[in-house]
């Protein structure tokens, strides 16, 4: 097994407690930052490490931080994205549950680097237990003065608050998350202004995914060069792949970024469940365009998947065996996005439902010859036209399902 960064403490007894975390060398990285690093050098180290956001877009983390102005007349904020709504994704949940202090230390490092004194962890509403765990962890830190004023006697102050979502996928979109944190209806904001300049409470805001932040303590302790040695040059470090579907051993797997999908499925996860044949793989959460069984000999990293017209997304790998109906999956996918659209943009509000209705009509044997092509055209009208990418997230997989499995749709249409 390769080196573990984010999940290394998961197997330990009571790993969620501060005592366990301290035994594993916890909170040394933040102390190292506070004593040995200037904030800028933390940013430089993270830039050098090549760490990319694990939420979905894979944006370089250090670069994102550097967009935030050094001096600001209003408070700056860190919003931690633990909304984890992408179907097929369940990695952040385990970090919150098994190693909350790793996340808290990551938050401390990020806040120190960017000059932030208040951070919010926005946690998916369904994650009740995880919220309790993270709140206890925050309290443990406060009791030890690892959080609060003048932490570790460094002069740096930081408060972290946990905030529960209310069950809306769209609040995982970073500006939707900000709106929700502010107490508003969760719907994405028009950009510009970008959050780095004016985000939460009009302050410059960094939004980082839980897993992204959990990488930071080891990057500080072991250095950027060490981090770069894992994974591939432009996709450094490890990634938690959440594997689900028709797979023998579903679960989360922390592996070097860029692991081959074939290796992951057959060698690591024990192949397809029930001895069936592989039909397709959704490689990065539900919004990632599907790969056919022929396409899976590919590294699961941001650039390789984007090259073949899909995306690494959130790292949720959904395995589909040959007994499954792609039109059924397509309909269920579109249903999900129709249900989750916030409805502010026309294309998304109307398009997601329309596409879902047509898929369902085909599924129910009332499809018409032209329907698949019509969906493709409707989807093309939904792509790249809206405030956020939920519309695209519905259109992209819908188009891929039709283009790659057209025969299955045509077979349902009389």
């Amino acid at each position: 097994m390769s080196e573990l960064i984010v999940t290394k403490n998961f197997a330990k007894k009571e790993s969620h407690k501060i005592s366990s975390y301290m035994e594993s060398g916890g909170y040394q990285a933040i102390q190292k930052c506070l004593s040995d690093f200037k904030p800028d050098s933390v940013i430089d180290e993270v830039k050098k490490s090549g760490l990319r956001g694990r939420g979905g877009a894979g944006f370089p983390t250090g670069l994102k931080w550097s967009f935030v102005p050094k001096e600001s007349s209003v408070p700056k904020y860190l919003a931690v994205n633990g909304d984890e709504g992408e179907p097929g994704t369940f990695k952040d949940r385990y970090i919150l549950e098994k190693d909350p202090h790793l996340l808290l230390e990551g938050i401390m490092i990020a806040c120190y680097a960017v000059g932030i004194n208040t951070a919010y962890i926005y946690i998916r509403g369904e994650y009740r237990r995880e919220i309790e765990i993270i709140e206890k962890a925050i309290k443990e830190c406060r009791d030890k003065n690892y959080l609060g004023k003048n932490i570790f006697g460094s002069g740096f102050s930081l408060e972290i608050h946990a905030h529960s979502g209310a069950g809306a996928y769209i609040c995982g979109e970073e500006t939707g998350l900000i709106e929700s944190l502010e107490g508003h209806r969760g719907q994405p904001r028009l950009k510009p202004p970008f959050p780095a300049l004016s985000g939460l409470f009009m302050g410059p805001t960094v939004i980082n995914n839980v897993e992204t932040l959990a990488n930071l303590p080891d990057i500080i302790m072991k250095g950027a060069d060490w981090y770069l040695s894992i994974g591939t040059p432009k996709n450094s470090g490890t990634r938690i792949y959440a594997v689900s579907g028709n797979i023998s051993k579903p679960g989360i797997y922390e592996l070097p970024m860029g692991i081959n999908a074939k290796t992951l499925i057959y060698d690591i996860c024990g192949g397809i469940a029930g001895g069936k044949k592989l039909k397709a793989v959704i490689p990065g959460g539900l919004s990632a365009p599907v790969l056919t069984a022929d396409e899976i000999d590919t590294p699961l990293d941001f650039d390789s998947l984007s090259k073949i017209g899909s995306m690494a997304g959130s790292g949720g790998v959904i395995v589909i065996d040959d007994s499954q109906s792609i039109p059924k999956i397509a309909a269920r996918t579109a249903d999900f996005y129709a249900h989750e659209s916030c409805g502010q943009c026309t294309q998304c509000r109307e398009g997601t439902r329309w596409v879902s209705l047509i898929f369902n009509r085909i599924l129910n044997g009332r499809g018409e010859k032209n329907d698949p092509d019509m969906i493709l055209d409707i989807c093309s009208n939904m792509m790249g036209q809206t405030i956020c990418v939920l519309s695209d997230a519905c259109a992209m997989p819908s188009m891929a399902f039709i283009k790659k499995f057209r025969n299955e749709f045509d077979a349902l249409i009389k």
Binding site: A168, I170, R185, L190, A338, H339, E340, S341, C342, G343, Q344, C345, T346, Q347, C348, R349, E350, G351, T352, R353, W354, L357, I358, R361, E368, M374, N381, G384, Q385, T386, I387
Partner: protein, 525 residues
Amino acid sequence: MAKIFIDNNEIEIIPGDTIIKAAARAGIEIPHFCYHPELQYAGSCRMCLVEVEKSPKLLTACSTMATDGMIVRTKTERVKKAREAVLEFLLINHPLDCPICDKAGECPLQNNYYKYSGKDSRYKENKWQKSKKVDLGPTIVHDQERCILCTRCVRFMDAVAKSPQLVVAKRGHKNILTTYPGQPLDNPYSLNTVDLCPVGALTSKDFRFKCRTWFLKSSKSLCAFCATGCNTIVQHKDNYIHRILPDKNDSINGSFMCDYGRLYRKFLHAESRIYSPALIQNGRFHEEQYQKAIDAAASKINGAVKKDGAASIGVIISPYLSIEEAYVAARWLSDSIVTPNIAVVNYENGFNDFKYSDNYLVSEDKSPNKAGVGEILKSFKKSAITVEQLAKTAASGRLKCFVFIGPAIGLNEIFKIYEADFKKCESKIAISTHNENFAAIADILIPFRMWLETSGHYVNKKGISQSYRPAVAFKNNEIKENIEILCDLASKTGAKIHFTSAAAVFEQINSRLGLYKPLKAGVIA
């Protein structure tokens, strides 16, 4: 000077310009729904998508700042397809009940569809059904199915009316515009949302199902509800006013007006309107010819003056009079009937249900021309007393005759207190609009036109004079214009005043008193 290029047109830009603003100044139309020049942009309807060089995606013209050298294209195939797509999406769940929709004929959704798409819908599914008549409050009924969720109304209530009573609830295609649970939409600016609505979703209870918009004729006018003097567009058919809308005037009311002003049309069409002169003897009402009524009034006045002197005459002037009407009255009161008993009605604190005021458009003073009437009287060195003071004189029996001039609007409350006092006068003459209060006890009644039926100038509380012209005709064309009525009465009672139009009076006000410079013809304020 910084400039941008839209479809190869060079357009100078000013700081703060978005693409759509710069385009509008140059006369280039970029279709839109959620954008409105008076509101913060939302960028959500996506109808204004345009191509901007160097941008891989289409950008919303409403929210994209214009920067020097920017090259914008609005007529490419890509833009055309995006617009057609938005229109198709908007219409799939739209009920398309245009034949019974009040907005038809002035509907941006209808107009943009015909102009930018015109294609048949490919939608074969059932439309998502919502409520078609939600009572949002005293003024508005909401059709949720027609609503395209542009949020113009929400943003208006938040930012302009400063009363966030409207919200979007639920999500996705289930989204509905609504109020907070149990709360009505009852802000006095609520009806602006009906104008802002780019579809027929928000309908005015006062106007819905009353008239197809294409039958309406529009006349520019003023609002007489209060001393703000909002500019209006009066819409009418067959001399009946169906709707009053705000007209843009940035130095007075911007693009909006209050609900009171819009619904003020009801006073014009009230059942108590007076259209014929009448003599009332022993409680019996005789319609009379105009000339005979004037003669009767003059003889009463002349008789009282002869017997008890001019001071036995009390004149009540309404601040609804135009400066021209006030001028004729003031000259009469200087040239022949020189009485100290000149009262000007005070509407300072409103009347009846109209006591609301705020710091936005609704003034405390609920009269349109207090400033103008006051200034005219002042220039004739006349000092006015109050109706209360005049009532005391009447109570003492020293007032033999009162002449009420102007609309008998909003006086019932105060009149009730002094009714008995004014009834003591031997002669009661009302040149008025409604058969109420002073007019109701008069024994000589001469009809008077309301401002929407005649011409003149009002001076608002800021001292801005604005002209108005008739929007609708007075129902009885045998009755002379207000100015002529006042001239006729003055001439028959010893003064030599002769004007045939308000314009001629205005000229004299300007040349003799040096007040109120004339504006270019046809320009209001």
